[in-house]
Assembly symmetry: C2
Amino acid sequence: MSTTKPSGATQIRLLTIGDVAERTGTATSTLRFYEDRRLISSRRNSSGYRIYHHDVIRRVSFIRTAKRVGLTLEEIGEALGSLPDGRTPNARDWARLARAWSPVLDERIATLTRLREQLDSCIGCGCLSLTSCGIWNPDDVAATLGDGPRYLLSDERPDGVADESDRPADS
Amino acid sequence: MSTTKPSGATQIRLLTIGDVAERTGTATSTLRFYEDRRLISSRRNSSGYRIYHHDVIRRVSFIRTAKRVGLTLEEIGEALGSLPDGRTPNARDWARLARAWSPVLDERIATLTRLREQLDSCIGCGCLSLTSCGIWNPDDVAATLGDGPRYLLSDERPDGVADESDRPADS
DNA sequence: ACTTGCCTTCAAGTTTACTTGAAACTTTAG
DNA sequence: CTAAAGTTTCAAGTAAACTTGAAGGCAAGT
C-alpha cells in the first residue's frame, strides 16, 4: 500500500484508508466522517487517494477510547484541536491536552466509582432504606426522612394515598 | 401536588411528573420517553395524570448516572429490568443488579484510568517516541519499531516517502 | 368564574454519530 | 489484459435519545 518502493529497514509505510481502518478497527466510512469533522486529517496521492501519516492511528485510538467512556466527538475534537496537525505531537502538546482533560477524566472516573460503590453498598447494607443508603439523591432523602421511611421499606401504603382505588371511574 | 390531603408527619408525597422532573433535573418529556422505553413506570390518577412512586427518583438518578458514563439506555434498561416494578427494590434485587454490572463498570473505570495514565505518562516520559510510549496501539508500535522511530521523533521524512512532491501533476 | 399553569397524547423534528448506496476511477493479482 | 478489490464523492438513510408543537383537558389561586 506504500506509494513508494520499500527501502529496507528504513521503510516507512504511509497508510491508505484501508490500512488505518484495519489497524484501528474502524470503518473507512467512519474515518472519512472523522476527517469531515476535522478530527483527523490526510493528504492525497496523485490520484486522489487519502494518505495517512502514521500518527493518525494514535489519534483514532484516542478518539475511540474517549468515545467509549462517554465523551462526545465535539469534546474530543476540542482536545485534539490542541495537538498539532502537521507534525507528530511532542511532550508539550500532550501535556497541554492532558492538563485540559485531567479534570474531565477525574470526574468521569469518580462518577463511575461512585456508581459502583453505590451498588456494592446496596448489597452490603441491605439497602432497604434510604436512611442508610441515601447516596442516590441526598436532596430527596432529606425530604423523605421527615415523612415516613416505613413506607419506603415495604409495599404497604400509608392511609390516604392513591392506589388502584384512586381510579374510580375513568371520566 | 399530593392527590390527598396531608396527614401530618406521616404524609407521603406521591409525585407528579413535574415533581420528578424538578427533583431529578430531567425534562418531563424525557420522563415520558423513559416510560415509553419501560425504564420507569407510573400509575395514573382519576384524570389521567401520571403519579409516581417515590422510588422513581432513584431509578432516574441511576439512569442519568449510568448514561453519563457512556452506557446506553438499552443496557440500563436491562439492568433495571432486574429490579421489581411494583415494589421498592430490596437487597437481593440490588445485589443482582450489582453483580451484573460490576464487570461492566470495572471495564469502564479501567478504560478511563488507562486513558488518563496515558496522557499523564505522555507528560512524564516526553512521549516523543512510540518506543517509550507505545500504549496507544501496541500492535501498531510493533510494526513501527522495526521501521524507523527517527521519523516519528521529528518532522523529517525518510527518503522515498510521499510528500508534497508526491503530487506531481494532478491527472 | 376565570386565568394561569401543569398535564395529556401523538406526530414530527433534532442532534449525534455514523452507514449505505450509486456511479465512477485506481490499483493489484493472476 | 482483465477482473476483483479498493478508493473517490455526494446524497440519503439509520439509530439512539430526546425535544418541540398542536390541540385540548385539569387544577389552583384570586
